[in-house]
């Protein structure tokens, strides 16, 4: 077998290694592309940026592990932004299996900024009945969550002292892998005029654009690209932003592999 023919029979382990290095090297070297953030992401960023320190932000975890690659980086970037700006974070969720993902990110970013549970952030958890929860949050949070996820009464938490409904919340941010985002708009925005930013997977995001055009939401973060944009705006080197060059690298590498494979194929065929 000469060199050209060998190109057609590269061992799969070498290909695995190439893929592995193609992802890990750009991340380790922190290679970044200067990509102009999409307008709707910038808009979301600026809305959070505008909030005075001490305002409350409500974040809803409406996804689970299967949408983690796209939405988890988004959540972390948003949390970084909030804590950096000394905003208070109130987290809840409508997908029970996704809640631990939200909680992990919350605890970790809070720790990084030295924030205190109950004073700077709180994790309310999950209550069944999506629409009912959203409507009642507009009246009085205590009607839905009289205690946080651990069972501590929320009246005993300093963060919740002056917070009763959407009026006391600066921005509501929903991270969506399904149709819960539409319901946030319908129940929290339309009824109570809550200010909403939605983050969504690449599959869901197109359905949410009409709300942005109608000014019913003030920002939209869509897919891995949206997450990368938010990370770049907050100057967080997260998996989405750092991952973009890795994406391009792998796509180019795969095409090169295809070309090499074909070279090998033609060399072998000519021999025959």
């Amino acid at each position: 077998m000469n060199f050209w023919e060998r190109l057609g029979k590269i061992d799969r382990r070498i290909i695995y290694l190439v893929v592995f290095l193609g992802v890990i090297i750009p991340i380790l070297l922190k290679v970044t592309f200067r990509v102009e953030p999409m307008r709707e992401v910038k808009q979301a960023y600026e809305e959070v940026e505008k909030l005075p320190p001490g305002s409350a932000v409500m974040i809803s975890i409406d996804y689970d592990a299967s949408s983690m690659p796209e939405l988890q980086p988004m959540l972390v970037a948003i949390l970084e932004h909030c804590f950096k700006k000394d905003l208070k974070v109130i987290m809840l969720g409508h997908w029970p299996l996704g809640l631990p993902l939200g909680q992990i990110a919350l605890d970790k970013v809070a720790k990084k900024y030295g924030k205190v549970y109950g004073k700077d952030y709180v994790f309310l958890g999950f209550r069944p009945g999506v629409a009912a929860v959203m409507i009642n949050l507009g009246k009085e949070i205590r009607q839905v969550f009289n205690s946080d996820y651990k069972g501590t009464p929320i009246d005993s938490l300093p963060i919740m002292q002056n917070i009763h409904n959407y009026n006391d919340i600066g921005i509501l941010i929903g991270l969506e892998a399904g149709s819960t985002g539409d319901m946030w708009v319908q129940f929290a925005q339309a009824r109570y005029n809550a200010k909403i930013i939605l983050g969504a997977t690449a599959v869901v995001a197109p359905d949410l654009y009409p709300y942005l055009q109608a000014n019913q939401i003030v920002g939209l973060i869509g897919g891995l690209r949206g997450a990368a944009d938010y990370e770049s705006l907050v100057h967080v080197l997260g998996p989405a932003y750092l991952g973009m060059p890795a994406q391009t690298t792998i796509h180019v590498l795969v095409v090169i592999l295809i070309i090499l494979g074909n070279l090998g194929y033609f060399a072998t065929r000519r021999k025959k």
Binding site: V23, I27, M68, P69, L237, G243, A246, Q247
Partner: protein
């Protein structure tokens, strides 16, 4: 502290699965068996809390009259399924299987009619002459797109014509069909790559960031 230990466990399991790429080895075997065993239990618990309990136990307790007693039917079917534990009457389990198969066949018809056939048919009835805004001038791009869409769909259908040999006109049409199918498969393959790479990025970022704190 607890989280550090758990992160190490998660990282260990992650690496054990990755090691399969090189070859089968004791680490992968261990991770695989833990995964199969624990996930079997996980979905068992899940099924209990999210399906059987609300749909049978809670429904029985909350409903009255017809809605309550009709639940005896699925309960009987479930018991029939379990007759497989007793070889002499295990043939009764076929009654329960027959119900699920019949249900599948019924849904197969309604789903195909409503979900596939009618909407797809409707969507393919396209004009191959599209005007530029409201003027009577052909919009070549759109018209051509519609034409390709219709021809491609019809040619693909011809490829699935079974009861005649693919020769002559049919042979030619089915060849065009397979060409469309190949382009579609290539495109769809290429389209998926990005999503798959982002999964790997997510995993490697976990290792580099959460576990090793390198990034």
């Amino acid at each position: 502290m607890a989280n550090v230990i758990w992160t190490w466990i998660a990282a260990g399991l992650t690496l054990a699965i990755f090691s399969f790429l090189y070859k089968d080895n004791p680490f992968y075997k261990l991770a695989e068996h833990i995964y199969v065993g624990s996930s079997a239990a996980f979905w068992f618990i899940y099924l209990w809390y999210f399906d059987v309990k609300p749909k049978l136990v809670d429904a029985w307790l909350q409903n009255t009259g017809f809605e309550k007693y009709i639940l005896i039917v699925p309960a009987i079917l479930a018991v029939l399924m379990l007759t497989r534990f007793i070889p002499t009457i295990s043939w009764l389990s076929r009654w329960a299987i027959a119900f699920t198969v019949g249900m599948g066949a019924g849904l197969g018809i309604t789903g195909a009619l409503q979900g596939f056939l009618v909407p797809q048919l409707q969507a393919t009835l396209l004009p191959i002459w599209v005007n530029v805004s409201d003027k009577f001038t052909v919009n070549l791009g759109y018209s051509l797109n519609n034409f390709i869409l219709v021809v491609g769909t019809i040619a693909t259908i011809f490829y699935f014509y079974f009861s005649k040999e693919h020769r002559g006109g049919l042979g030619y049409a089915s060849k065009v069909g397979i060409t469309f199918i190949m382009i579609a498969f290539g495109a769809s393959f290429g389209y998926t790559v990005m999503a798959r790479i982002s999964l790997l990025i997510g995993r490697l970022f976990f290792l580099l960031h959460d576990w090793l704190h390198l990034v």
